[in-house]
């Protein structure tokens, strides 16, 4: 189950965003993920736990290793929400341009345009 609240709050941390960016390139072990950061492995593991609980990554068992990869469902759910927000904001203002043009026309005594359904 994806919680958007948890997912966005997991993304509030720059280290976790960097981890996701790394995993976007493919599966990686905890050691590989810890490498670019000046952090202990437990600290990285804590970040991975947050990402996992948010439904953004999953782990696999490979011998003694537990490589992580992106959780498609979680990322998709977020993408859908994000895309909607950005698109919504831009679509809204484009629509408002038309509504305003209609208000202007009415003021000038022209026929209604663009504001009627």
């Amino acid at each position: 189950m994806i919680s958007l609240n948890e997912a966005f709050s997991a993304l509030a941390d720059p280290t976790r965003r960097a981890i996701l960016a790394r995993l976007a390139k493919g599966e990686a072990t905890v050691n590989e993920l810890a490498e670019p950061f000046e952090m202990t492995q437990p600290a990285i593991s804590q970040h991975l736990k947050v990402l996992e609980e948010a439904g953004l990554i999953v782990r696999r068992v490979d011998g003694t290793k537990r490589p992580r990869r992106l959780a498609r469902a979680g990322i998709d759910a977020m993408d859908q929400w994000l895309g909607m927000l950005r698109k919504a904001l831009e679509a809204n203002y484009d629509r408002l341009d038309d509504v305003l043009a209609g208000m202007d026309d009415r003021k000038k005594g022209k026929h209604k345009r663009g504001v009627t359904r």
Binding site: L4, N5, F8, S9, L11, A12, D13, R17, A18, L20, A21, A24, L56, L70, I75, D76, M78, D79, Q80, W81, L82, G83, M84, L85, R86, K87, A88, L89, E90, A91, N92, Y93, D94, R95, L96, D97, D98, V99, L100, A101, M103, D104, V115
Partner: protein, 159 residues
């Protein structure tokens, strides 16, 4: 890149807790202000993507007045925003707080919206203040600003 397009929306951050959105409109401040406070007009444009409607648009545009915007895609999905007006200065300025319900309420977003005459048109500036840097980061995780790392993954298909 598209800076020559006067209608282009901008979105930037300021300090640790602010987000600034600007947008130019061809209409004068009075019209843009009314479009932000008259529920009949709001319902015509504050709709989000194609296919979404706002069946509930309650807006008491007076200091202390409440508003509630409720959206649906007609296929079972929906969400709503509630808020309160703090200050209204027709046709220059609106100050309000709002929070999105998903369905749990997100932290309050304090928003000051200014409408300034810009030639024959209007420059609208929204200054959002989030409670802390973490909340703002979460909001910016919406990828609205610069396509965050997580958005690299698969945003193309959506936008």
């Amino acid at each position: 890149m598209s800076e020559t397009t006067t209608s282009k929306m901008t979105l930037t951050t300021e300090g640790d807790t602010h987000v600034i959105v600007t947008r130019r409109f061809a209409a004068p401040p009075e019209a843009v202000y009314r479009a932000h406070t008259d529920p009949k007009i709001i319902q015509k444009w504050l709709l989000g993507p194609e296919g979404w409607t706002m069946p509930v648009c309650i807006n008491e545009a007076k200091p202390g007045g409440k508003f509630r915007y409720q959206w649906t895609n007609g296929k079972g999905a929906g969400f709503h925003i509630t808020g309160e007006f703090l200050e209204l200065e027709p046709y220059d300025r609106i100050v309000h707080v709002e929070r999105m319900h998903l369905p749990d309420p997100m932290p309050d977003n304090h928003i000051e919206t200014r409408f300034e005459a810009d030639g024959a048109g209007t420059l609208m500036t929204m200054r959002m203040t989030l409670p802390d840097s973490k909340t703002r980061a979460a909001m910016l995780a919406t990828g609205m600003e610069h396509g965050m790392e997580a958005s690299y993954v698969r945003l193309e298909g959506m936008l």
